[in-house]
Point group: C2
Chain length 122, copies 2
Amino acid sequence: MNFDNTAPIYIQIMNLIKKDIILGRMQLGEKLLSTREYAQNLKVNPNTMARVFNELEREGVTFTKRGVGTFITESEEKVERLKKEMAEDIVRNFIEGMLELGFNFNDMIELIKHRLEKEAVQ
Amino acid sequence: MNFDNTAPIYIQIMNLIKKDIILGRMQLGEKLLSTREYAQNLKVNPNTMARVFNELEREGVTFTKRGVGTFITESEEKVERLKKEMAEDIVRNFIEGMLELGFNFNDMIELIKHRLEKEAVQ
DNA sequence: ACTAGTGTACCATATAGATAGTGCACTAGT
DNA sequence: ACTAGTGCACTATCTATATGGTACACTAGT
């Protein structure tokens, strides 16, 4: 993994796992890799992964069976809410930033369209 | 000022000043407040403001006259480039985030429209 | 010459994040 | 009963931020 320095690594890993859940790459109730396996795969410290699991459980995204492992929530509704929250965060950040720079709705659409076309070419 | 904890304070202050320049709230070549004045106004440490000035100069946004003060760049072209870069950063973050969550162009437009309408009401 | 104001360079401290390592209680499978 | 694997708790160290404080060279205006 290549982490950037704009956010703590444990936050970035949390978002990775959340996206896996939202996009259906992990099923409801499925067991996650262990902290030690994740730590090895992502080349981070086991303590960092422990923090990730702690926070994910605190947010209700996962639940823990002591001595067994950590599992994705079984609530479809929670996953839906998670996706909605993540999308709203991104949208809000985008709109606030663009308004502060003096762009209006049409400017936003044009910039997005332009950017998507450029990506499609590459 | 109310700073959030998602980014270092000195970064947030840099963005404040950049926006002042981009939106024309500060003129080209205009003298900035001193580090001590900024520190008092924003209730941060003078050392933090010193770092802000250092980074802004490193990015070419400002220039320094030793013993006199720090001034906005006089290059209209640099300001234009700055605005473009900041906008592109925001747009790229938005698009990457939304694509990773499984949204397409039309979804993005709809979410932005919806969010703007909700803000207009409030 | 003097003074006030400027950026700048230090030193020290505190906190959050990340790393490294050890150990323990619990669980499932044998 | 035993063992491997699990989450979890602990201690320690390191770095980046942020704060608090002091001091110095430079500049403009008097």
